[in-house]
Symmetry: C2
Subunit: 264 residues, 2 copies
DNA sequence: GCCCTGAATAGTGTCCGACAAACCGACACT
DNA sequence: AGTGTCGGTTTGTCGGACACTATTCAGGGC
């Protein structure tokens, strides 16, 4: 029959608290930086118990809409890029995204990021890139794979920031992080990869420093294509989740919560 | 002196609760769908009070790592794309992203989305697109601007879903939502816009239906360029925040919390 | 007069105990 | 089988309590 029942939803008090505060923020009645009343006062204002207010606050905190400026100052805040990126990264991991899926997006968006970085980077950004490059050179020489991966992620993050484009950063960071984490699996198979990477980064950095969007874009594209080729050559699977939820087989089947509590 | 004190962080109990549960989930010891113990049991396991557990759970809920399958069943869950998108959209709004910033990303990523949709769309996706197109035609004829905007957003969302690429969807949706919300400001100035949009959508949909990635990409690119041109012609500002936090001037200066509480 | 220090204050983090409402499963009834 | 009833269980919310610490402020030292 044509009956299409919308699931009825009881709204808990703590949801209403966070929803109301959220809408006040979104409507600009509470501006970033502004301090909120204490928990007791909020509880009084909303006419609910302090515990309830606290539960509501937890949600807003976790969404980055409010944060503690100091242990006793709760202020409205704009979500921080870093935290957004890490949440999105986590989500993509859980969605079991594949190398191929990530790469297809990265191959379009990373060159764009490089281009915009070349247009908008500040001297400070360039300095950060050069510093990263120097450390990368050392890590490459020392064959320190862990460091190479870490510095590569940092490199992408600096580029991202240098674009001065939050929309791009938001789109790119999670993808970059996840994709180039796959580098770790790659390096043992391709000893020459870090050297190639070092050169590509160097070219992009120079282009960014000189404000040449085309070169920055071009070398980033090459780098991305090269990365994919390496991945294939190493015989790694393109269609398997990059970071499987169930860490292959053999892992200890301890599935319950084993946690020793606080004072461990 | 070279002393660089990292800010020491006291970890509150509720943070530890959510952090531990989160890591259990990320490590795959708790799999999506799996049910968590009740609050009292969790409290006992962690050795903390139930209130504390509840605060921890609120954070996980808000991050989409757990959800209530029914009012009494708390299950592990993978973050839902829709919720991620809306959170990211909100973040971009608060970061006061401009039309130009959004557009530069959209002009690269939307064509990619169309291409991937053409490669991967199912019959069901195509059917949804056609249904959307039909309603869009009606709304255009009726000059119902609100409906046009709503259906345009829906169109982009369907395309996004049709790519079968969560990484792309995550990157694209917030940008699309915010950018094409700007359509609302545009329409009054450009009466012919919906008709042009209708054609572009139609071409893309046909290409998706026929599995022609190049045509899909091409028409989406045109559509994006056209959109920007319209925005310029309408004299709208490219470098102003798309959705300002402070809604221009003149808005009521009621900045405190006015909220009548629960039983309003 | 200004800065430092210590007491007073206020606010958060955590716990305890309690209770109504609802949900869920089991059981009885038709 | 389907429906009604019932009771145990769990959540949502409340009130109160207490330790700890940021913050404030007043008073004393320079």
């Amino acid at each position: 029959m044509g009956l299409r029942p919308r699931p009825i939803q009881v709204s808990k008090a703590y949801e209403q608290v966070s929803a109301q505060l959220e809408s006040q923020i979104l409507e600009g009645r509470l501006l970033p930086g502004e301090q909120l009343p204490g928990e007791v006062e909020l509880a009084a204002l909303f006419g609910v118990n302090r515990s309830t207010v606290r539960e509501g606050i937890r949600r807003l905190e976790s969404e980055g809409l409010v944060r503690r400026a100091s242990p006793r100052k709760l202020v409205v805040s704009t979500p921080k890029a870093r935290e957004l990126a890490s949440r999105n990264t986590r989500a993509l991991r859980m969605l079991e995204v594949t190398f191929d899926q990530l790469w297809r997006v990265a191959v379009e968006i990373e060159p764009l990021a490089a281009e915009l970085a070349a247009r908008n980077a500040t001297d400070a950004d360039v300095a950060k890139l050069r510093a990263n490059q120097a450390r990368m050179a050392k890590a490459t020489e020392a064959r320190d794979d862990r460091a190479v991966v870490r510095l590569d992620l940092e490199y992408h993050s600096i580029i991202s920031e240098a674009t001065k484009n939050p929309a791009l950063a938001l789109a790119q960071e999670p993808i970059g992080i996840l994709l180039y984490s796959g580098l770790e699996a790659l390096l043992p198979h391709l000893p020459q990869a870090p050297a190639r990477q070092l050169e590509a980064h160097g070219r992009v950095i120079d282009a960014v420093a000189m404000g040449d969007p085309d070169v920055a874009r071009d070398w980033t594209l090459r780098h991305a294509v090269d990365f994919r080729r390496g991945y294939i050559m190493a015989g790694l699977p393109m269609d398997a989740p990059i970071a499987p939820l169930v860490p292959a087989a053999g892992a200890k089947a301890a599935r319950e919560i084993t946690t020793p509590p606080r004072d461990a």
